[in-house]
Point group: C2
Chain length 146, copies 2
DNA sequence: TTGACGATTGGTACTTTATTGCATTCGGTA
DNA sequence: TACCGAATGCAATAAAGTACCAATCGTCAA
């Protein structure tokens, strides 16, 4: 199961990078990996408050930032003015709903596979890319008021 | 010239959609179309303050929102937690710098041209998509402190 | 197993980005 | 040129994210 795998990876990375394996970090990873969508820091904070009273919003933001640096999670590109996080760091396309802002995986993980150059003519170094499909999720098409 | 073309388009769209052609709207369009990168609302506001004292930040936000609804501008997808705007509404890939956050066009406008389905198996309706190349611009590679 | 040390956390305050409400002013039409 | 609804400016507020610092915790060596 993905959730277990990520907990395992978290333990290994913490160990090898000399970073503490705190209950908060484990909880954030568990909460993120448990979701099939790609939540914002605040959405995760809400999940975590229930499971772990006393959890601080600041900590959630910081843990996610740390995870990003460790390569354990990724920020998802979207038009929305807030960061969405994905525990699956392999390259794959996302769907973003224009109505509710939800971010989920696109079924065909190979869709939009590209091979950008390492450098552009301008000297811009490309290290990553994202393919984002934008539209309206089924729920929002049925009931546009969320 | 692109700037002139967009001013023209603004006049036409305002007329046909029964929306006022205010000096503020013209100024925002001029300021946005004049830039080769894709600025945030606040960056535009700063440009505009110089050209048009008394211009309000709120107005810039509202005008951009209106333009988006009218199809005159687009928000650019990015990992950053703020909205970047592009006056070129045709589909083309962007480069985003991870260091300074700058958003610019990728030279090869045909790169990453895709044909996503109109509906996914989940019933998600796809109306648009974005290809974003992520990395480090030349300036930031030479001087990572901005 | 314990003690010490540096890393991490929680809380608060603050910044940045964006939105809302409302009185005033303005653009477009008659 | 006067009217009317739309748009603006200002101030207040909301939402998203960051900085600071004292208190606490996880890790490692003894």
């Amino acid at each position: 199961m993905f959730k277990q795998k990520k907990q395992q990876e978290l333990r290994e990375i913490c160990k090898s990078r000399g970073v503490s394996l705190t209950p908060q970090r484990q909880a954030v990873m568990r909460a993120l990996a448990a979701r099939r969508d790609h939540p914002t820091a605040d959405q995760l904070y809400e999940d975590l408050c229930r499971q772990m009273p006393g959890m601080s919003r600041t900590t959630v933001y910081r843990v996610l930032e740390t995870f990003e640096k460790l390569g354990l999670v990724r920020k998802v590109d979207s038009r929305a003015s807030k960061a969405h996080y994905d525990a699956d760091t392999t390259l794959h396309p996302h769907l973003v709903c224009l109505n509710c802002g939800k971010v989920v995986d696109y079924q065909d993980r190979e869709f939009g596979h590209l091979e950008p150059p390492v450098f552009t003519d301008d000297g811009f170094q490309i290290v990553d890319y994202a393919v984002t499909l934008v539209g309206f999720c089924r729920q929002c098409r049925q009931d546009p008021n969320n």
